[in-house]
């Protein structure tokens, strides 16, 4: 690599990682690409923010427990003031989802494997499930823990299947209730006066967002056929036995019988295997390779990424059967990834995490995170749509958001500096990326707190 090793080390930790903790750039200096590839863990996957945390099924049962309590409260009399069902639901959602988000933020603030965590966050955003849909909030942490993190450096197809069959996704994109129109389940529900049928939400978003993308040229008919193939992919309900409640459950009597044709290919597999076969082909499609290569290059390198980088990632994906460890390796070894100019503007979450790392601060309560992330436009666990959070400067470098970042930088500086020298923190946080102008401005600050706020708001800290 032709880059100056100090600059390469700074890029490795700030662009590919989550920002430098004091001393971290030095640890990467010997061999920056190797510092990154050492973080790739094909078998173990990404780190878990809370080892031993409740599973999605446990969270689901917790919700069932709450419903029972609610029923009991109803039986005990309407006038009871000590149990308000909405307040109780809000409390469950806030406590559980809040704990999950806090744990993830703490992992980001402290981990020595920042690249591994950034890689996991990329995939969590690729397969977005969002708390904008009611009780899903408590399942997002478990979703990342069960469907994303274990597969982060495995085969893409495995992550796709894990995501598409996870209760959080099945609920978020309405798949759990989609029923084949010509099935026993539809007939049964029809007899009791309920309308039952197809919901094409998950099928469409798997094709458009998770795999081949719009450019693949599929039609409305392909989406509807895939939705038919997916019927039966559901979850065990609140009234079902404990061993199936809140877990993936294939319901044969809701599965639309017959052969499906999707993007010109016929699928005659029985039952659950039908959609499984479609997922296999979607994961293997070169359109998927391209879609993912563009997104990765855009996330790590530039909003308008170098086409040569995209084609290298694509080639690796196609040549390794979607092996994400190999794709990650290609990314960090490609020389296009090391452009000395930082082209990525940090998202609010990235800004916050990297600020904590620079200041040596670990959040210990949600109010230190939630309100400000929300104010900066990236409300915790609440991406506005299944497309996930945008990652481009045009979105995040907006007037109001910058004013909010400035105010937050001051708050963090007041809270976290503890008398340390902001110039030293700047050297630790940016290494060779620190420009003389910013260094000088920090040294001329009126107070140390002001110095730290200047560091956090500097052009080179706002970008990576």
């Amino acid at each position: 690599m032709a880059l100056d090793p100090d600059l390469a080390a700074a890029i490795a930790v700030t662009r590919f990682g989550l920002g430098a903790k004091p001393g971290e750039i030095l640890t990467a200096r010997d061999d920056p690409p190797a510092w990154l590839t050492a973080q790739i863990r094909p078998v173990l996957g990404a780190d878990q923010p809370q080892p031993g945390a409740p599973s999605s099924a446990q969270r689901f049962l917790e919700f069932r427990e709450y419903q029972r309590e609610r029923q009991q409260a109803k039986l005990d009399g309407q006038g009871k003031a000590d149990f308000d069902p909405v307040k109780a639901a809000i409390k469950i959602i806030r406590d559980d989802a809040g704990a999950d988000f806090l744990a993830r933020a703490r992992l980001g603030a402290t981990t020595d494997a920042g690249f591994r965590e950034r890689w996991a966050l990329f995939w969590a955003n690729h397969f977005t499930v969002s708390a904008t849909k009611g009780q899903i909030a408590t399942l997002i942490g478990p979703f990342e823990q069960e469907a994303i993190r274990p597969h982060a450096f495995g085969r893409f197809e495995d992550m796709l299947v894990a995501s598409s069959s996870h209760p959080a996704m099945l609920l978020y994109l309405d798949q759990a209730q989609s029923i084949g129109p010509d099935t026993m389940a539809a007939m049964y529900l029809g007899r009791s006066g309920k309308k039952a049928g197809l919901n094409e939400n998950l099928a469409r978003e798997i094709m458009e967002l998770h795999t081949v993308g719009l450019g693949a040229g599929y039609t409305q008919a392909d989406v509807t056929e895939f939705a038919r193939a997916l019927t039966g992919w559901s979850i065990g309900g609140l009234r079902e036995p404990e061993d199936v409640a809140g877990k993936f459950l294939f319901r044969p009597n809701a599965h639309e019988p017959g052969t499906r044709t999707i993007m010109g290919k016929r699928y005659s597999q029985p039952g659950v295997m039908q959609a499984r076969a479609v997922l296999h082909d979607l994961a293997a499609s070169p359109h998927t390779a391209h879609h993912i290569a563009v997104k990765l290059a855009r996330h790590f390198v530039a909003d308008d990424p170098p086409p040569t980088l995209v084609s290298q990632l694509e080639r690796t994906y196609n040549g390794t059967n979607g092996d994400l460890a190999q794709v990650a390796k290609t990314l960090v070894l490609a020389h296009e990834s090391w452009n000395p100019e930082a082209q990525k503007f940090k998202t609010p979450y990235e800004f916050m995490i990297s600020s904590w790392r620079a200041a040596g601060f670990t959040p210990d309560a949600l109010p230190q995170i939630g309100p400000m992330l929300n104010a900066m436009g990236e409300k915790p666990f609440s991406a506005p749509s299944p497309k996930g959070w945008p990652e481009d400067a045009a979105t995040w470098c907006a007037p109001d958001a910058i004013v909010k970042r400035m105010a937050w930088s001051e708050t963090l500086a007041a809270q976290a500096l503890n008398g340390r020298d902001p110039y030293q923190l700047a050297v630790d946080a940016l290494g060779a990326r620190l420009t003389p102008l910013v260094a000088k401005t920090i040294q001329r600050a009126e107070t140390r707190e002001e110095g730290l706020a200047i560091l956090l708001m500097s052009p080179e800290f706002q970008r990576r």
Partner: protein
């Protein structure tokens, strides 16, 4: 000039100058507007984008269409004069019962509907359709800038200012002309030196310096706008906005985990109800009204923005969408409160205001298997404002008859959204036709500006 308005003006000036950052504050003062004269300088245009695919057949239910009730089943809005029924506009159309404020405006000739409007996009993808709606091109991802921004450029850069509500800028307002963005929350911090230090630091960084300068000037206006919003609201109806403050529920940790002010409403929907639900819903509406009034507060200031873009999420109702009540009804109530806040907050300036509420696509005419609706094609746009010409529906109604549905599933589009946008730009700001056909909406010479919307 009456005493009261004199006082208001000097208060604005005092607040603005008290914020003296030593930076160019482009909104404050009359200077920026010297170039725009007379009536044009008072005209206002607000575009509200309802994201997720808002169901036109619930926004303006065609309860007089003989096929409506059958197609919609349990999610149909009941007819006029039935409990929870549509609010009557004409023999065919009503408004959703949640849209009470819009209906009040309609009765005064200050709100109309375009019930079968669509973009040119037919892919039924949220993201592609929103992109086309906002970029004004004929294909998604065709351009990085929004049509509203290019319209500002066509009026002469710097002549007409624009603002979006929210911490980040929507595509529709992105582009070569700097537009402000604003959202409630903590403004500038304690250190009075920091803004100018950063301005110096950003001197050679156009992206950051543009954003910071615009953010600071907007912050200065916000102090005035929130004060105006409070007095406008208290004058309008002291009773209906209980304890509404400018800190929305969305800013508190209590609602961090879910969809902001409407999260408790969703929880309530899944689980029953209760006093907290009603309170949460009311609080959400107070926040929406206040946001609307604050936006108006920006726009009525001297030299304030004449153009604004607002986004509201949460209209993707694939399951359990509800009818007169429920998920979509709550969302529409939120929209209604925001629109009401804007029209109240505008005060006398409402007569010069035009507002359009659009969505990326409508939803299927049939109810689906999960008591919701899937992605469709045409939907309803709401047109509002004191500048409106009284009249019936905008565009034709294709009806919901067998064989009249688009691809046998959706409301058939009868009017191109770009034509309506063009009509508003022509009538409000006198934008020139050639700019409309080429720069603002590229390749749209065959789409004429819709006339007869503005008086």
């Amino acid at each position: 000039m009456t005493d009261a308005s004199f006082l208001a003006l000097s208060r604005r000036r005092a607040l603005a100058s008290a914020l003296g950052f030593g930076l160019a504050i482009e909104f404050v003062g009359h200077k920026a507007f010297a170039a725009v004269d007379g009536a044009l300088a008072r005209r206002k245009l607000i575009v509200v984008i309802c994201r997720g695919g808002m169901d036109g057949l619930s926004v303006s239910p065609p309860v007089g269409d003989s096929n409506y009730a059958g197609l919609r089943g349990a999610i149909a809005i009941p007819g006029f004069d039935k409990p929870g029924g549509a609010l009557k506009l004409d023999d065919t159309f009503g408004l959703h019962p949640s849209l009470a404020a819009v209906h009040r405006l309609a009765l005064k000739g200050e709100a109309r509907i375009a019930p079968a409007i669509a973009t040119t996009d037919r892919a039924r993808s949220h993201f592609e359709a929103q992109d086309v709606l906002e970029n004004g091109a004929t294909a998604a991802y065709g351009t990085d800038s929004g049509w509203l921004n290019r319209a500002l450029a066509a009026m002469g850069p710097g002549k007409v200012k624009a603002i979006s509500v929210g911490p980040t800028a929507p595509l529709i307002l992105r582009g070569g002309v700097e537009a402000a963005s604003w959202s409630p929350g903590p403004g500038v911090g304690r250190d009075p030196r920091l803004p100018s230090i950063l301005a110096d630091l950003y001197a050679h960084d156009p992206q950051l310096s543009r954003a910071l300068a615009s953010g600071l000037s907007t912050e200065a206006m916000a102090k005035v706008a929130t004060a105006d919003a409070k007095s406008a609201l208290s004058q309008a109806d002291a009773m209906a906005a209980p304890a509404a403050t400018m800190t929305p529920a969305a800013m508190t940790p209590a609602t961090m985990a879910s969809g902001g002010p409407d999260m408790p409403a969703m929880a309530g929907q899944a689980n029953g109800g209760g006093a907290a639900l009603a309170a949460a819903q009311r609080q959400g509406l107070g926040v929406a009204r206040n946001l609307g009034a604050t936006l108006a507060g920006f726009m009525i200031q001297d030299g304030g923005p004449q153009v604004a873009a607002v986004s509201i999420d949460g209209f993707d109702t694939h399951a359990n969408q509800g009818s007169s009540q429920g998920q979509l009804a709550n969302r529409l109530a939120y929209l209604d409160a925001a629109l009401d806040g804007i029209s109240d907050g505008m005060g006398p300036a409402w007569k010069d205001t035009a507002m359009i509420v659009v969505t990326e696509f409508g939803r299927t005419a049939h109810v689906n298997g999960t008591a919701g609706t899937d992605h469709g094609t045409a939907s309803t746009a709401l047109l509002l404002g004191g500048a409106l010409k009284r009249g019936g529906i905008v565009g034709d109604w294709p009806t919901l008859a067998q064989g009249k549905l688009f691809e046998n599933r959706d409301t058939y589009p009868t009017i191109d959204m770009r034509g309506v946008f063009k009509g508003l730009l022509v009538d409000q700001f006198g934008v020139d036709r050639r700019a409309l056909d080429t720069a603002i909406f590229p390749g749209s010479a065959d789409v004429a500006p819709a006339g007869g919307i503005i008086a």
